[in-house]
């Protein structure tokens, strides 16, 4: 691909909430076409770390380099513009809105005549259906209300959105939580498919059985501290479990 170095590098990130240290000198990197698993127990700092990376919180110290250049994400919009999209557990989609309006949320297509601009609904509908096909999600209409879809289909809509907008790094926060075995497998297949299409993923979970089969590397956090980074061939689910539960 002609791209050297890492896609994203976080170096010595610190984040405090009052006197509580949520992240202490944590460093993490994700390469091009790579799936990295970010694992740890509840309270390990996984969510805080991805919120720093996705522009929700500013870090108190440390540096973020995106495609080799130092960056400061002041808001999620900055991160999205750079090519980092995050699918948070409870906030991936708006249940009361249609699939089409969710896919284009914040990035709506408009037509313009003079000073007047209005939604280009026809194009958005067509492109929504094309985006859903990318994740093999077959819905009858782009006007289906997201709240009426299954949990897996909802995640699929969010992933289709990331693929449609050519995201370079997709951060998935517990994407298989509350999903059936079949739907979880579907999400894992999506993530593998993303890699084939040149999209890297940072997969946050506490379910090692889900992340281990698809990840290239595993990053372990505990109580806001880095425990280690392991290539899959260097570790096992048992060894990782031991590390997570050790402290």
């Amino acid at each position: 691909m002609g791209e050297n170095g890492q896609l994203v590098e976080l170096t010595r990130i610190q984040k405090y909430f009052g006197r509580v240290c949520a992240l202490e000198n944590v460093s993490l990197d994700v390469g091009y076409n790579e799936i990295v698993g970010l694992v740890g127990d509840n309270g390990a700092g996984k969510s805080t770390l991805i919120k720093v990376l996705s522009g929700v919180f500013p870090p108190d110290a440390g540096e973020i380099r995106w495609r080799g250049n130092p960056v400061v994400f002041k808001s999620p919009a900055d991160a999205i513009r750079a090519g980092i999209e995050t699918i948070f557990q409870e906030t991936a989609v708006v249940d009361s809105m249609t699939v089409m309006r969710n896919i284009f949320m914040g990035r709506e297509l408009v037509r313009q005549v003079g000073p007047f601009r209005w939604l280009d609904i026809r194009t958005m509908a067509r492109e929504s259906m094309a985006a859903l096909e990318l994740v093999d999600l077959r819905l009858r209409s782009p006007n289906a209300v997201v709240g009426e879809l299954s949990g897996g289909q909802r995640q699929g809509v969010a992933i289709a959105r990331a693929m449609h907008f050519k995201t370079r790094l997709l951060i998935l926060d517990e994407p298989t939580n509350n999903l059936s075995v079949k739907e979880s497998k579907r999400i894992l297949d999506f993530i593998v498919e993303l890699k084939k299409q040149g999209i890297s993923s940072l997969f946050i979970t506490h379910n090692l059985n889900h992340v281990y089969p698809v990840a290239d590397r595993m990053f372990v956090l505990s109580h806001g501290n880095e425990v280690g980074v392991f290539r899959k061939d260097q570790t096992s689910i048992e060894a990782l479990t031991e590390l997570i539960t050790l402290k």
Binding site: T91, V94, S96, M97, R101, L119
Partner: protein, 327 residues
């Protein structure tokens, strides 16, 4: 076979997907009942009365609907409704041209909305509380300013009065304003980027935020447009009645919420239509008028509106459940 069944269900699903269905059916039933009870109900004179009074409630309710879709409330609309015409008349009496006075007061109403939004968003107070306080503050200021003796419109207000409530052929200008504002708000909600952000903000605040939508700005806009429209509607009523009353708009905050909910707007935000609110508004005005035509005691008005609000929500939930089963 399964495909044939699905195809046969499609017209039913399309009909149920029409969000204003329940309120439209209720409106038809109420009109039919009043026509049966009072023969004159559908007379031209009586319809003119309904069409003349509906815009005042409807314009406020349209703004309230936008704010409710954002996930917020404004209980101060009744006080702003009373304040705007009184302030307009006062400013005109200082010798300020009518048009300038009118625009200045609308800007002032918008600033009241901005203040409601700022306090709610900056301090994280529920808008119910912020605007409950604002409702009392502005009602008190109206009473303080007027001292029980509200000003009168000077003769120089007549051209403005013509533009706002004058008879334009078969209808009153207020109805045209109402239609125009409703259409503009429909375009804003359904056909603009900002409209999508309004639905996203009310539907799932955090999802909208992480997608880069400035949800604070969206809500602030909702507060501003609601106060501005409440002020405009107050001026409409002031001109229609030709008299300014400090107690005007008392109770309108709940009537507008009822009109929105009857029309399919959801209290928790993210769902609603301005056309549904138009139907809700006419339903309220029709009941108000129909009870008078039927010579029923006026106390029945609140009973009917209360019951209709509850029934409308029950029907909307039932329709949503039925649609899910059919799909």
């Amino acid at each position: 076979m399964a495909n044939e069944t699905k195809a046969a269900r499609q017209p039913v699903i399309s009909l149920l997907a029409f969000r204003e269905l329940s309120s439209l059916v209720m409106l038809a039933v109420v009109v039919a009942v009043f026509f049966f009870i009072a023969g004159d109900f559908l007379s031209r004179d009586n319809l003119t009365v309904i069409l003349e009074t509906a815009p005042e409630l409807g314009i406020v309710a349209a703004g309230v609907t936008v704010l409710m879709i954002c996930g917020e409330f404004d209980l101060s609309v009744g006080s702003v409704f009373a304040l705007a015409p009184i302030f307009t008349a006062s400013v005109m009496n200082w010798g300020v041209p009518a048009g300038i006075a009118f625009v200045a007061v609308l800007v002032f109403c918008g600033l009241i909305g901005a203040l409601n939004g700022f306090v709610t968003l900056r301090f994280g107070i529920p808008s119910f509380i912020t605007t409950l306080g604002a409702m009392m503050v502005w009602r008190g200021i109206v009473l303080l300013v007027t001292g029980g003796w509200p000003p009168e419109y000077p003769p120089a207000a007549d051209p403005l009065k013509m533009i706002i409530v004058g008879k334009m052929g078969l209808v009153y200008a207020s109805l045209i304003w109402y239609g125009g504002l409703t259409l503009l708000l429909w375009i804003l909600l359904e056909r603009s980027k900002f409209g999508n952000w309004i639905f996203a903000t009310g539907g799932n605040l955090n999802a909208a935020r992480v997608m880069g939508i400035n949800t604070g700005r969206v809500k602030l806009f909702g507060f501003i447009i609601t106060s501005l429209l409440a002020g405009f509607a107050g001026v409409v009523q002031g001109f229609r009645l030709g008299a300014l009353v400090p107690s005007a708009g008392t109770g309108i905050e709940l009537d507008t919420i009822a009109a929105s909910v009857i029309g399919g707007t959801v209290l928790s935000g993210g769902i609603g239509t301005v056309f549904g609110t138009v139907i809700g508004t006419f339903l309220i005005r029709v009941i108000d008028n129909g009870l008078i035509m039927a010579r029923a005691p006026g106390y029945w008005f609140r009973v009917f509106i209360g019951l209709l609000t509850i029934v409308a929500v029950i029907i909307n939930i039932s329709i949503a459940k039925r649609m899910r089963r059919l799909k």
